[in-house]
């Protein structure tokens, strides 16, 4: 498995180089430049979505905390009723 790990490590680097090579002449052709700017715009939109998603997760964590508080007070109530019984 060490050799396999080494192999995938080297392959990954070669893959990155191939990818970068294919981008080498990317900026020169107007049509491909257009695709670049579209990708740039998409990245901005996806980043904003991720920001919203992160805010939503923070909100859910707060909701979780209040649900836990609610649960604890209900369990206190149950103990009281049990005690009454």
């Amino acid at each position: 498995s060490d050799l396999e790990q080494l192999c995938s490590h080297v392959n990954e680097k070669i893959g990155n180089i191939k990818k970068t090579l294919s981008l080498r002449n990317f900026g020169q052709e107007p049509a491909l430049k257009n695709i670049l700017s579209k990708i740039g715009a998409e990245i901005i939109i996806v980043n904003e979505l991720l920001n919203e998603f992160e805010l939503e997760i923070q909100y859910q964590e707060q909701t979780n905390a209040s649900l836990k508080e609610l649960c604890e007070s209900l369990e206190e109530d149950f103990k009281d009723v049990e005690h009454l019984k």
């Binding site: 680097k13 180089i17 900026g27 700017s37 979780n64 649900l67 649960c71």
Partner: protein, 115 residues
């Protein structure tokens, strides 16, 4: 044998650093030929941003999953406790021959919603 292994190891290390150097030179060339401008970023920058987005997405998903599971668990615990408490309260009311306090309509609706 030891010497052979060391030699192989050196060869792999050399290959690794060569690959890193090729990558660095390519990126340097692209950045030089297509400097980032306000409206346009060069392909290398976009590639890096894309991989940053992917790892951020994975990190947020890993954070979101347990929160979502925990929320479901807490809600079911609340329902279970609420049901137990209400059942026991009604038993107590019967035993103490106290008049059962009738539930208001919205209490009934909410109880149904929760169950």
């Amino acid at each position: 044998m030891e010497a052979e292994v060391d030699k192989l190891e050196l060869m792999f290390q050399k290959a690794d650093s060569d690959l890193d150097y090729i990558q660095y030179r390519l990126e340097y060339e692209i950045k030089t030929n297509h400097p980032d401008s306000a409206g346009e970023k060069n392909p290398v920058t976009l590639l890096k941003e894309l991989s940053a987005i992917k790892s951020r997405h994975q990190a947020l998903y890993a954070r979101f999953k347990p929160v979502s599971v925990e929320q479901k668990e807490t809600k079911s615990r609340i329902c279970a406790t609420l049901n137990k408490t209400m059942t026991m309260t009604q038993e107590l009311q019967k035993q103490t021959v106290l008049e059962l306090s009738l539930r208001t309509d919205d209490e009934k609706a909410v109880a149904e919603q929760l169950t």
